[in-house]
Symmetry: C2
Subunit: 280 residues, 2 copies
């Protein structure tokens, strides 16, 4: 723990949730990962803006048989971990959940909670191992036989909805959902992401594809049941912190362009967010 260490030491880790609140009064926490040492599983849920710290933070916990689940947004994330550690022991996870952190030691779970997990090399046996980890938890976890597909699926939400929340001046999700013009561009942005994702999957010889109609229906349903949720990109923007523009917008755009997929709205949005970000 970094920012929250003292608060959790004193008052425990407090979680509010529509499914019931929870306090862990004396959780096992440390200030450094050296104090933890080698473990069976590392779950890395850093922001991609802290990617430069990831190696240093994770390394002390990794032994030869340690598996690493990377619960981060954007593209090109597991690739970095596979450079540093055993590629066969890297997993990626996508959290489709509305969570905000507030005061130190306090986490607010607001809605939804599914996690999708994939293996970096799409190894089904390794994927089973990862799934077993969650079996006794109450978290809804689904396995994806294509991590790449799952990554793009998450971007189908994040790019239009997180992106527009910031670019439209700093508004919550219901400001997109209830505005016909923004809702329409959210849809066409999503279609661009689907096209880019499917080209990326095909170029890597993967069988998996993003199903346009299923994804559009699902993502708008999620969105319409989020209320005035503020995505983490928006909170970072409003609180003048660095935004995850590189991994969440620029890298997907780069892939689309290298594959010759025309994504004009993503290109405009990425340029605006990049510019909004560097002004901080």
């Amino acid at each position: 723990m970094r920012r929250d260490y003292q608060a959790v030491r004193i008052a425990g880790l407090r979680l509010t949730s529509p499914e019931g609140d929870l306090t862990l009064s004396n959780p096992a926490i440390t200030l450094t990962s050296e104090d933890i040492g080698p473990v069976d599983w590392v779950l890395c849920a850093l922001k991609t803006t802290s990617m430069e710290y990831a190696y240093k933070l994770v390394r002390p916990c990794v032994a030869a048989d340690t598996r690493i689940l990377v619960l981060m947004n954007g593209l090109g994330i597991e690739e970095r971990f596979a450079d540093w550690f055993d590629a066969n022991r890297i997993f990626g996870g996508m959290a489709f959940t509305c969570i905000n952190r507030s005061e130190p030691g306090q986490v607010h779970h607001l809605a939804h909670g599914r996690i999708t997990i994939g293996h970096f090399q799409n190894d089904p046996v390794e994927l089973e191992t990862a799934m077993a980890l969650w079996k006794r938890s109450k978290v809804e976890v689904s396995a994806s036989l294509s991590l790449r597909c799952a990554r793009w699926e998450k971007l189908c939400w994040n790019i239009p909805f997180s992106g527009l929340c910031v670019a439209a001046g700093g508004i919550a999700i219901d400001g997109i959902a209830c505005n016909a013009k923004l809702r329409n561009v959210a849809l066409t942005l999503m279609e661009e992401v689907i096209a880019a994702g499917n080209a990326d999957l095909a170029s890597h010889g993967e069988m998996a594809r993003l199903d346009r109609n299923a994804i559009v229906t699902h993502m708008f349903h999620l969105t319409d049941t989020m209320g005035a949720y503020r995505p983490s990109l928006l909170i970072d923007f409003l609180e003048q912190r660095q935004m995850e523009v590189e991994a969440m917008f620029v890298e997907p755009l780069r892939r689309a362009q290298s594959l010759g997929v025309n994504t004009p709205q993503l290109r405009l949005l990425a340029a605006l967010l990049f510019s909004l970000g560097i002004r901080r």
Copy 2:
């Protein structure tokens, strides 16, 4: 004069310009257009956000032979005046100039100054009459045989550059010109406007066309010599006034869509500006 009346009465109308400053110490000004009465020429340079006041302001000055030059931004402007007055005496003008107003009675001319004039019905004889009006002035005036073409030409600058200045968080023109990502989307936005404009011209049986290469070169040259200019849309945004989103973005988008021209970046930009505008 409205806001500036008292200041100009007392101190005159002051103009600063790289071509030399100027003070009109006792200009002929009135508080109402009723105090002016019928004239040969009306030059109407309102913001389109004040369109609802235009008829009331202009009407007292219009006799049977009065000509009206509409120096306003956006599309669908002369059409309104042609509804109210004699369509054969309506002209449109586009000012390619960098002007900001500051304290009451003070106008800052910063760069450039060309005005393009067209006749609402593209009548070359009427157009000559309008041109004669400017002959003795030092203003660089060019005649356009297609008002529609001239309107779209102005939008080729306003949509990308004014639009991005606001959508990128409120930055001046050099923030677009010196940022490779924004410069690139300014170009593709301009190409969308050119495509929409040419479709609009063709659908109205006009011979004139927007020349893509000439316009791109010209508009980027203008932009690169503007420095840190703040377009009026940006100033309205920063000062929390209503922006000219309807005439400058939404109406051009509407025309593109009705003509089946795909303008995804204009659509995203218009939605963002519309949303930024209604939040004020």
